[in-house]
Each structure stands twice: as C-alpha cells, then as structure tokens.
C-alpha cells in the first residue's frame, strides 16, 4: 500500500482533526501531535500542527489555559469552544458528504477488475 500523503489534503482537514481530538478531552500541543500520529498521521510534525492550533485559537474555535506541571514549565491546554464544536459538526457533515461523493465517483470510474474482454476498455 502506498502511504504517501498529499500535504495539501492533510492541510485541509487538519483543523477538523484537531477539533475532533480535542472533543475527546483537552490536550496540549505535543500531546495532540502524538495522538494524531498514533491515529495514523505518522508523518505529522509539531511544526505543522502549532500554526493550526494558533489559528483555531485566534478564530475563537479553541480556548486555552496554562496548567502547571510537576516535571517542567506550565503547559498550554486547549479545549474546543462552542464555536469550535459547531464548526466541527459542520466540517464533519461536509467531510462525509465529500467523502461519499469522492468514493462514488472513484467507484464509477474504476476500471473493471474481473473483465477480460479487451473491447470493454475504459476511456
């Protein structure tokens, strides 16, 4: 299986994924990175995620608070706001619609795998 991922595709859905992970519980930046990596985005780096978090916070979709840590400096924990939760719901619906459409188109245009008749080639 080809695991190469289009960075532009990831960029488009990353805010939604961040909000989805945060919906499960507040988290700090690096923990979010590892959770998304564990979920399958193995090549996701903190450098990709932090600007997204920054933008979500600037747009009021997540809020943050500093939590003191016993092992080091305070960490900044993020949690979705009401606007962020609403945005996540909207993005999820949009994603499912798009995903279904893409799947339908790909299935329609996929070359038949069982046909051996050379006269039935696809255009």
């Amino acid at each position: 299986m080809d695991d190469t991922r289009d960075p532009q595709l990831l960029k488009g859905v990353l805010p939604m994924l961040v909000l989805a992970v945060l919906r499960g519980g507040e988290s700090y930046g690096y923990e979010l990175v590892t959770r998304l990596q564990d979920a399958g985005l193995a090549d996701l780096g903190a450098g990709t995620l932090y600007p997204v978090l920054n933008r979500l916070e600037r747009e009021g979709r997540v809020s943050s608070r500093l939590v003191a840590s016993t092992s080091g400096p305070a960490r900044k924990y993020y949690v979705p706001t009401d606007a962020g939760t609403a945005e996540l719901d909207r993005a999820e619906r949009s994603w499912h619609r798009l995903s279904a459409t893409v799947a339908r188109v790909l299935d329609t245009d996929a070359p038949p795998t069982t046909s051996t008749d050379p006269s039935r080639g696809t255009r």
Partner: protein
C-alpha cells in the same frame, strides 16, 4: 526562570532566533516566540530539546506556516527596512569609493586639490605632502535623494501595499 542545560538553551534560542527573524511580520511576533519557547521547554521534558526542536522543522517553514494562517498577507517591515538600509549604504559606499579613487589619482599626479559639485553639494578633494582630505557639505538635494532611495526600496522591499486589506487580501476558494 529556565533551568535548562546550557546546550539545550543554546539549541532552543538558536532556533527561536531564526524563527523570530522569519516570523517578524506576524502581528505581535514576540508573543508567538514566547509561546513557542514555553512549548519547546515543556516538550523537551518529554523528548529532549533536540527532538523537540527537530519536530518543529525548519524555522522559516514554521514561520511561513504561521504567516499563511493569517487571513491576508502582511507587509514585511523588517525586510523592507533592511533592504532600504542596504541601498542607502551602497550609495554611501560608492561615494566613499569615489573619494578614495579621486584622492589616489591626485596623489599619483603629485598632489593638488580638485573641487566637484553634485546635487548642490560642493566637495573638495585635497592631496598634499601632509596628507589627504575630503571636505564636503550637505545639501537638500542629497537629503531628498537618500530619502527617496530609502523610501522606494522600503516600499518595494516591505510590500507596503499589503497594509491595505483590499490590495493584499488572500483570495480563498469557497468551501
């Protein structure tokens, strides 16, 4: 107060210095750098400073990520100022080089004095056995030249037109 080892401190601050330069056009970049410093320090307690810094990628690419997250492009003030200062410096360097060349010529000719007037400023180049000298005076024309040069290069280098939202807005495709 940081209790990081000196080596980690250097790694972190070197990265942040490069990031700070690259992200200078972001609104309130100091705040961004402070947040990143805190994040790096906290992450380093889990994975070490080198790994924490490596995970951020190249500082310029990271800065571009932040700048791209803005709704519109912003002027690059520091870049404009740097280019403008270099342009003015280049002209000043050429004038000094011209003065040295003139004095060298005078010296090769056995000494003497020559007067040149440009843009309303008279400059006297003198070469004698006692030494070399250049005496000049300022003029408003030169002041205008320097100001215009600085201004034009600053405007172009800083992309000043981005300060106006209608001119610098990033077009976004409808979702």
């Amino acid at each position: 107060m940081s209790t990081l080892p000196l080596r980690d401190l250097l790694v972190r601050e070197t990265f942040l210095a490069r990031f700070s330069w690259a992200v200078q056009d972001y609104p309130k970049p100091d705040r961004l750098v402070r947040e990143l410093r805190r994040e790096l320090t906290a992450t380093a307690t889990d994975v070490g400073m080198r790994r924490a810094v490596a995970d951020l990628g190249h500082p310029r690419v990271l800065a571009e990520g932040y700048l791209a997250s803005l709704d519109r492009r912003v002027p690059r003030w520091a870049t404009g100022a740097t280019w403008a200062a270099l342009a003015v410096g280049a002209v000043a360097y050429l004038l000094v080089a011209y003065a040295f060349g003139t004095l060298d010529t005078l010296e090769d000719l056995g000494g003497g004095s020559v007067t040149r007037t440009a843009l309303g400023a008279t400059t006297v180049y003198t070469s004698t056995d006692d030494g070399l000298s250049v005496a000049t005076e300022g003029s408003w024309q030169w002041a205008v030249l320097y100001a215009a040069l600085f201004g034009v290069v600053f405007v172009l280098g800083s992309r000043l037109w981005r300060a106006w939202p209608s001119g610098g807005a990033v077009r976004r495709a409808p979702a």
